[in-house]
């Protein structure tokens, strides 16, 4: 049993190579252990004090944004560039838990925890994010959609640390949004969720659409078959809703039946398309879109 505090990425990589598990905010790892989901790993390395790992770099790469793995949900929610140009991500971060959870919980922890109900995943998929994984042996970049291999599982090797999430520059005339179905307005977990990224043509019709879904399958579901989908926002929203309900493979549990999840994920996808299209058209809809439009009003 050991607990070490890493000051640098190199410290952390060495500890992980020796078999320790990284712990960032601990809001999944520790809470999960208390709930009996999985025992706390015997060896832990705290990565939350690594200098620079909580930075948001605007203009990285080809004009995109890079988030250090330790960037908190609170920081994402309140960052003007993320809220303005990567709204689906900010919408998701702003919904996480409570103010306390959002200050402590990190983007790295959220994506590496790989819950199918996670609130940043669908947004990251439609925004085309990549994660940067690093080990003592080197660094690689993985498209976010390829990271998750099942509930709570990733393709990362045990000795790999997620050091950053890279977001490409958004297309001109595009906008994005993430919505989730929730039974209460704080401390909630997505019953189902959907993110959309919309690019509008000059005439206001949809030129391109990407949609991803949360809590309706073993991992975040990227809706397929939308590559050739164009048309009015309404028509696209209808087609997306139908595709989302069809491609979802939800389970029944105490929170909802599979029938209800299949139906409501279509509703969420439709609303995500409409909200994203409004943002693409230049309208400001405050983060998170769930609260601004009201779950009942965003039709």
């Amino acid at each position: 049993m050991s607990f070490t505090i890493a000051r640098t990425v190199e410290d952390a990589l060495a500890a992980i190579a020796a078999g320790a598990r990284p712990i960032a905010g601990g809001t999944d790892l520790v809470v999960g252990a208390r709930h009996g989901k999985a025992a706390l790993p015997a060896d832990l390395v705290a990565i939350d004090r690594i200098a620079g790992l909580d930075e948001i770099t605007v203009g990285a790469g080809n004009g995109g944004v890079t988030l250090g793995a330790n960037v908190s949900h609170h920081a994402i929610e309140h960052h003007p560039v993320l809220a303005g140009s990567y709204s689906a991500l900010a919408d998701g971060s702003a919904l996480v838990g409570s103010p306390a959870t959002r200050h402590v919980g990190t983007i790295g922890g959220n994506v590496m925890n790989a819950s199918p109900a996670m609130d940043t995943g669908a947004g990251l998929v439609v925004l085309g994010a990549e994660v940067e994984l690093r080990s003592v042996h080197g660094t690689r970049r993985v498209p976010i959609g390829e990271l998750w291999s099942g509930p709570g599982r990733t393709i990362a090797q045990p000795d790999e640390l997620c050091v950053a999430v890279h977001l490409p520059q958004p297309a001109p005339n595009s906008g994005s949004a993430y919505l989730r179905l929730e039974y209460r307005r704080a401390m909630e977990i997505a019953v189902v969720g959907a993110a959309a990224n919309i690019t509008l043509a000059a005439d206001g019709t949809v030129a391109a659409v990407r949609v991803a879904l949360s809590a309706v399958g073993p991992t975040i579901v990227s809706v397929t078959g939308l590559d050739t989908l164009v048309g009015s926002v309404d028509d696209v929203a209808d087609a997306v809703a139908a595709a989302a309900s069809e491609q979802a493979t939800p389970i029944s549990d105490v929170r909802a039946s599979d029938r209800y999840r299949r139906h409501t994920v279509g509703v969420m996808a439709r609303r995500a398309v409409v909200a994203a299209a409004r943002r693409a058209a230049g309208e400001t809809i405050a983060i998170p879109v769930n609260r601004t439009l009201g779950i009942g009003a965003a039709s």
Binding site: Y183, A186, H263, T264
Partner: protein
């Protein structure tokens, strides 16, 4: 009959224990540590129904660091229960619900205790699981208690097999009434059980000194807890001391006698202090207090002019595996199913069915919120069936001053009609609303409980005062109101009084933080105790000022001669004089008012809750917005009007209503226990049992209808802790029913259930059109 005067000093004051609690300086039971203290853990059944064929604690006892392992064989063979003696401390050969305690361990630390628990070997012969209260009452249902007939029980209870308490209220001729009605409406409703869910999980510390035991515990009812320890461990009351540090909420869940005796027995066997700390999961599964599920069949007949002429209702309440304090729930539930209405012909029948579920018990206004939800949903159906506005229908049929209620009680002055009018007005009832919004209205009622209670008051030589009371504070703030009452009586200020409370060896008896009774009864006791001191002070002042004691007035911290305020002496000076002679000590109890008469009704299984002292009334009007695509309902505004008599502290009273309403919203929309086929709770935790959060709290308008209540508590106060929890879910249901086009017949009205109801309406509409 006494008509009381209004409170002399209605004051908005912040409760005295508030700063301690919000700054973290207050100490709770779990904060206690005693030298040599051990940790306790329970071995639970894990299955809902089974006969123990093997129970072996040898391996557990052999683990180093384990000091005691107890089973039923190690404690007195006592069967206990306030209504039915159907329970033992540990399983007595048969386990009847999943969290029945089979054994208890005390060990050096919690991890060792848990290892010992895991090392206890128990084997079972499975018995058929009784998972459905209605099915439990059929002739061929397996018995939860095969020996039910031999159990001791309160003589008032009518019991038969799995029916632990049958109760009926009948008046007039219900068959004839139905036959003569212009319209008869029948409805079925099902309410799931739910939980009190206080923020503080249970904690108990027990320590023996010689043959005396002190138990620090998270109870709402210290004297009841003491009685349970004395009964099960066969001890006299004066050898058991119960102390309650700050209590982190209760909502009824911490009423009754729970695990104090287990921990006292462990401490005795281990010869060390022992502490029990519950996890959140245990808090959900193990206590014999959760809100009972109930199913209802209603039938109401109305005349063509909209008057209720007959009502018939049958209801089945889930008792769970043991009766706990639910013995009176069948009669209380029947009263709520009849409601505060004028009904000439009626029959209500209620059954309390044993099942293999967690036992039910008093959670804030037991039986009331779910029964009000069912009755008031049904009432809207009736109003609609005869084309009447639901508010007008209630105004026509609800009881009023001088009217006779369903059990044949004729009411003195009551404020139900004013509550309806006020709530409707505050909600803007009748206004034009968007198509996805509607306002639902419901009325509720709740008794005051008149019971014995005691308190001492003393003033020391420096003029500072103490109230030493048996009353218990569970978060309502009612104990915090007592200084105001003593201050009014003695012409002092509330800040002059410190409270000493929650210790059974220090103060006289009180029933505890239960039944909204603290202010009603302990207020009476404190006033009586203060009055004794007031008399002493008047005599001292008369001596000092050379006046007649009858002319002495106590006000503003002084005693003065009526009419000549400058002939005065500070009360502190009088206290100094008394300190050298006869001390200023008052003790009080006062006679509780007796039950009002009822006539013309027949009550079978009469538990004494058909006649209500100082009944409280309320009307809630709630504006709801419905997302028809998902079934998610949002509460936009709540208007709550309450007749709880005189309000002593408006700030505290408003807090009670806000909390009750928010709890009601949870019961309406998200809080319900779900059982699997083997009678295991599926959502025993805060992740899947969804309480409302501050972010969900809607704006509220609150009004108190204050009238001269006969036979009420101090200054005309009734109670207020439970009443605000009664009508909210019902009002929400009536708004949702308007938006859906049909009632949602299950509680909680989860988004998915609302969506299912919407689908059904859509299908019927299509079907009807085809």
């Amino acid at each position: 009959m006494t008509i009381s005067t209004p409170a002399p000093n209605p004051a908005r004051f912040i409760r005295a224990d508030g700063p301690d609690k919000v700054t973290g300086s207050g100490r709770y039971t779990a904060d206690l540590t005693l030298t040599g203290m051990l940790a306790a853990k329970f071995k639970y059944a894990g299955i809902a129904h089974g006969r123990i064929t093997r129970l072996d604690t040898t391996a557990a006892k052999a683990i180093p660091g384990v000091f005691a392992v107890l089973t039923q064989a190690d404690v007195p063979n006592v069967r206990f229960g306030g209504f039915v003696q159907d329970r033992t401390l540990f399983a007595d050969g048969v386990v009847r619900f999943e969290a029945e305690i089979v054994a208890a361990v005390a060990a050096v630390d919690a991890a060792t205790a848990q290892r010992a628990v895991d090392a206890i070997v128990v084997e079972y012969e499975p018995l058929p699981v009784v998972n459905d209260p209605e099915a439990a009452l059929t002739a061929d249902a397996p018995l939860v208690h095969t020996d039910w007939a031999s159990y001791g029980a309160s003589g008032a209870l009518v019991r038969e097999r799995n029916d632990a308490s049958f109760s009926s209220i009948a008046k007039g001729d219900v068959d004839r009434g139905m036959a003569e009605a212009a319209v008869v409406v029948r409805s079925r409703y099902d309410a799931d059980g739910c939980h009190a869910a206080p923020i503080e999980p249970r904690a108990i510390v027990a320590q023996w000194e010689g043959d005396k035991v002190t138990i620090w515990t998270t109870t709402q009812v210290p004297y009841d807890a003491r009685a349970g320890v004395c009964e099960t461990l066969e001890l006299p009351a004066n050898r058991v001391r119960i102390i309650v540090p700050h209590l982190g909420g209760g909502f009824g869940g911490k009423c009754g006698f729970h695990f104090e005796a287990h921990i006292a027995a462990l401490a005795k066997a281990a010869r060390r202090p022992v502490r029990l700390l519950f996890s959140r999961r245990e808090e959900f599964l193990a206590p014999d207090k959760r809100r009972e599920s109930i199913c209802y069949d209603f039938e109401t007949g109305v005349s063509s002019d909209g008057r209720i002429v007959a009502r018939r209702v049958t209801m089945v309440l889930d008792n769970g595996a043991y009766t706990a304090d639910a013995g009176f729930f069948s009669q209380l539930g029947a009263m709520h199913a009849l409601g505060p209405y004028r009904i000439p012909n009626l029959l209500a029948e209620a059954h309390l069915a044993y099942t293999n579920h967690q036992p039910s018990g008093s959670v804030r206004a037991p039986t009331a919120p779910q029964t009000c939800w069912a009755l008031e949903s049904h009432t809207d159906e009736v109003a609609r069936a005869i084309g009447m506005d639901p508010v007008a229908f209630r105004q026509l049929n609800a009881v009023d001053t001088g009217a006779e209620g369903p059990s044949g009680q004729t009411y003195g002055e009551i404020g139900v009609q004013e509550c309806i009018e006020r709530a409707a007005r505050m909600a803007g009832y009748g206004q034009q609303l968007p198509g996805d919004e509607a306002i639902g209205v419901a009325i509720g009622w709740w008794p005051s409980f008149a019971v014995p209670s005691g308190a001492y008051v003393k003033i020391d030589g420096d003029g500072s005062a103490q109230i030493i009371t048996g009353a218990q504070e569970c978060g309502t703030g009612s104990v915090m109101t007592l200084p105001q009452l003593a201050a009014d009586e003695l012409g002092m200020s509330a800040a002059d009084f410190q409270l000493v409370y929650q210790d059974t060896s220090v103060a006289p008896y009180d029933m505890g933080a239960t039944g909204s009774q603290t202010l009603f009864n302990n207020g009476r006791a404190v006033i009586a105790a203060a009055a004794q001191i007031a008399e002493q002070l008047r005599a001292l002042a008369a001596d000092h000022l050379e006046a007649d004691p009858a002319d002495i007035v106590l006000a503003n911290g002084q005693a003065f001669v009526a009419g000549t305020p400058d002939r005065a002496v500070p009360i502190a000076t009088l206290a100094g004089i008394a300190a050298g002679g006869e001390l200023l000590i008052g003790h009080g109890s006062g006679m509780p008012p007796g039950p009002p008469p009822i006539s013309g009704s027949t009550c079978v299984g009469d538990a004494g809750v058909a006649a209500w002292v100082a009944p409280q009334f309320s009307c809630h009007a709630v504006r709801v917005k419905l997302d028809r695509d998902t079934g998610v309902a949002r509460i936009m505004h709540v208007a709550a009007a309450h007749d709880s008599g005189t309000i002593i502290n408006p700030l505290g009273a408003e807090g009670q209503v806000q909390g009750g309403v928010l709890m009601g919203i949870g019961q309406a929309l998200t809080e319900g226990t779900s059982y699997d086929n083997e009678a295991h709770q599926r959502n025993a935790g805060l992740l899947d049992y969804k309480l409302q959060t501050c972010a969900d709290a809607p704006p509220m308008d609150i009004h108190f209808v204050q009238i001269n209540t006969p036979n009420a508590g101090p200054h005309g106060a009734k109670g207020l802790a439970e009443a605000p929890n009664v009508a909210t879910a019902a009002a929400i249901a009536n708004a949702i029913a308007q938006l859906v086009g049909a009632p949602v017949r299950q509680l909680p009205m989860t988004a998915e259930r609302v969506w299912d109801a919407l689908q059904e309406v859509a299908q019927n509409t299509i079907g009807g059109a085809a």
